[in-house]
């Protein structure tokens, strides 16, 4: 769901090496106006480095950063039309809330009444009106977070960069801030580039998710694409939980695994190509009655764990143990069958490695 087709930032073949370790191995990415784009990946995947290159804190070894079509990789951060919200906020403790937010405006030597007006507007945007003269150290983590966002947004950047901004907050506050951030983004109508290792955060806020691993982009897509059509085993296992099964593509829409042939919706593979099949735990149904007639895969309930909304049930079959999420309870040691439809089977190319 892109809001615009105008590309504001384009990364071309970025590479970066720190102390003999290649952190980025050629990143190509287009970022559009008004887009909420998330760089998602485990720590060390290069997502923060990519962000820092866009902000100007690092220079790429090779490659280009185009901003509205202009190469800016050598432009210092203070001359770029982007602003950053840092992981630990990096607020200035010697200044009060007002002066923190007004920092950038003061540097631009704006008239004092304009500054005052803009700061007030920002404070109301982040829901902290009346906090002007508070000491930033006296604020809670969530409040500091909002100040950091206000401090960045008040400069009216074309792009806002957020480096794991919710990492230091507790779970409840994080949820609250997620929707708040999304709301703010829609309100100010600018591009957000968001870095996180939390897949749930990425899926719930983003227009586009970029999954990264070891300095390389694994998949770019909408949250739904990424979740439903993971392109490889890494994406599948990193985003949500899944059962990943090796199999063979017998024909278009026909895949074989665990000794059985299944109908599916995937096409375009070579005959008999080795593939990997993703079955999401919530897509599998457990059938206890007459299952031998209705299902191909049979097994025995190994364990049942209550997870709140659903049970997580492990079913041991001849070839493997399946993980299933269901709201129904099945007692351990019960003989059951597993059922799933063609649209629940996601076939991926194998990568030659195991997650």
């Amino acid at each position: 769901m892109k809001n615009s087709d105008v590309c504001i930032i384009e990364l071309k073949g970025l590479t970066k090496t720190f102390d003999d370790q290649q952190v980025l191995k050629g990143i190509d990415l287009k970022i559009y106006e008004n887009e909420f784009l998330t760089l998602l990946g485990p720590s060390g995947c290069g997502k923060t480095t990519t962000l820092r290159i866009i902000a100007g804190f690092e220079e790429p070894d090779m490659g280009e950063v185009l901003f509205n079509g202009v190469e800016i990789s050598a432009v210092p951060p203070y001359k770029r039309e982007v602003n950053t919200v840092f992981q630990k906020y990096a607020l200035f403790p010697h200044l009060d809330v007002f002066d923190n937010i007004a920092f950038g405006l003061n540097l631009k030597k704006m008239p004092q009444d304009v500054i005052e007006q803009k700061v007030k507007k920002m404070l109301s945007l982040v829901g902290l009106s009346g906090y002007e003269n508070r000491d930033v150290i006296s604020l809670s983590g969530g409040q500091q977070q909002r100040i950091a966002i206000a401090r960045a947004l008040v400069n009216e950047p074309k792009v806002l960069l957020l480096d794991e901004p919710l990492g230091a907050l507790d779970a409840r506050l994080r949820k609250e801030m997620q929707s708040e951030l999304k709301k703010i983004q829609q309100e100010v109508g600018i591009t957000f580039i968001y870095v996180t290792h939390d897949q749930e955060e990425a899926l719930s806020m983003s227009d586009t998710v970029v999954v990264m691993k070891d300095g390389e982009i694994q998949q770019i897509g909408t949250p739904i694409d990424i979740y439903n059509e993971p392109e490889n085993r890494f994406v599948a296992s990193f985003i949500g939980e899944s059962n990943i099964i090796e199999g063979n593509m017998l024909d278009d829409c026909l895949v074989k695994f665990d000794g059985f042939e299944f109908e599916c919706v995937d096409k375009g593979f070579k005959p008999n190509e080795e593939v990997e099949v993703v079955l999401r735990p919530e897509d599998i149904d457990i059938i206890a009655k007459d299952f031998k007639k209705k299902t191909k895969i049979h097994g025995k309930v190994e364990s049942v764990v209550f997870k709140g909304v659903h049970y997580e049930i492990m079913v041991a079959t001849e070839n493997r143990t399946y993980k299933i999420h269901t709201t129904d309870y099945f007692a351990p040691d019960l003989e059951v069958g597993l059922s799933f439809g063609p649209e629940d089977i996601h076939v991926m190319y194998t990568m030659g490695w195991t997650a």
Binding site: G56, P77, Y78, Q87, A90, H94, F103, G104, N155
Partner: protein, 615 residues
Amino acid sequence: MKRISKLSSGLYIFLCFAFFYLPILVTVIFSFNSSKSLTHFTGFSMRWYGELIQSSEIMSAVYVSLTIAVLATIISTALGTFTAIGLSKCRKVLREWTLNINNIPMMIPDIVMAVGLMILFSAASINKGYMTMLLAHICFCTPYVITSVYPKVRELDINIANAAMDLGATPWQALWKVIIPMIKPGIYAGVLLAFTMSIDDFVISYFVSGNGVKNISIVVYNMTKRTNPTMNALSTLLIGAIILITVIVNLAPRFKKTRFSKHLSKIAGVLGIILLISVLIFSYNTANLQNTLKVYNAGEYIEEALIDKFEEETGCKVIYETFDSNESMYTKINSGEEYDIIIPSDYMIERLIKEERIQPIDWERLENASNLMESILDKEYDPGNKYSVPYFWGSVGILYDKTKVDKADLKDGWDLLMNPKYKGNLYMYDSERDSFMIAMKALGLSLNTDKPEEIDRAYEWLLEQNRIMSPVYAGDDVIDNMISGNKALAVVYSGDAAYIITENPNLEYFEPHQGTNLWYDGMVITKNCKKTDLAHKFIDFFLDEKNALTNTQAVGYSSCITSAYEEMQKTDYEGVSAYTPRQGNEKDEVFKYQSQKTKEYCATLWTKIKAEGVR
């Protein structure tokens, strides 16, 4: 029980504070004393404050101390702060090595640093003076600043500078508007440390200074020869200033948000510029050596107004420096420091002649030469006074309290110091040469003997005296103690005796019949002096009858000028025998330059004698 423990803890704290602050309190009280004594409060007066302000030497020392402290603080704070910030961005190995090396100057003794800097400046042939002192102070202050600032820099969020730049600040703006304000507490601590270290310093300043540039501690050190309550006045003012600063530092956070604080940086800037200009003027003045004369004299041994008068008369500038002993003077000139005129004692003059460090006096150029007393000329240390012109002279003798000492005992001469009646009631000089002189004279030997067996006999005499009498081996504090009548007997120089007697009429001075040490201090012109004309004028100036009288009145030592010598016996020192040392006694001798071997031998024995006293 509880009350007792509360009481005792209160007492403990009281004693602690008393221990810390009593010396300061005494200093403050006696700065308002109307007399010169440091032990008897005779009445309130502001006399010493008046003298303090009038003393150009002290006032210029205050100026030197303060400007050096302020400049060294500013420069070392800037250096140290930037270094600390830079270090935090360095690779770990480099950072840790630098920090460890940074600790070394703080740990090594001052004296090592001092000698090192002195040698460095000499080797680089940098003229010692204001600049060298400033450089040295910057050098030893900077490590303290780094040590106090660095932990604050480490505490910073690693993204803090990035955050500032992200918001549009250039690297410089990020430094000034964010980094510096955030590490302010560390910088303030560094400033305070650097300033106190600089104001406090004596050892390093003493070694790296020259050309008459002296800070407060050097001046005070040179003044300790005589009790001088102006020092108390100066100390009191310093204490007051420090209390004021402490109060301001503690109250400052309350005025954080006022308008004043916004202008503070501008005020500081203006002050800085004024300081810099005054320093440039000062160093220009000291660097301008064209028409200057460098004079090196013992401390408290001249009427300073006479120097001003000489400068007025000749239009030249006199750089006047003082030493505390002939030996330290020798060390200083040996280290390459150059002077035009030095005023050492007889045996040292002999040594300087032998080592060809001084040039002959051109007596033709001394118009007032005829004013000199015949009887003190042409002595063995400088036959025919080829190289030296007498300045003051005197003897060594015994000062005794008429109310405590039996007149009949005086006939024993030096053996009076061995009379058990006065056990624990006498001061000896803590000087090996003077003490061995007494023993040798008591034994009927020459005080210039270098025969080990004779020295051993003198050693036995002193050792026995130590056992029988338990004397106190004292320095110049004898003067004040005798004025206060603390002990019955003391070995003193005649000039000091004369002064003490005028303050305490119960005392009397005599020179033992076995003979004593007669000494002569003389003005000499160094070999490297190029302004011989000016140098001769300076010497001639002190041979002038009026000037000589002024000088002897101020110092109290016996004048070498006939008219001044006679005038003093009729006026200030009427009836004070100490002003007129014995002349013509065959047993009296002048010190000769001791061989290094003899000197070391005596020094070893002297240490043993004093150690005996401790047991």
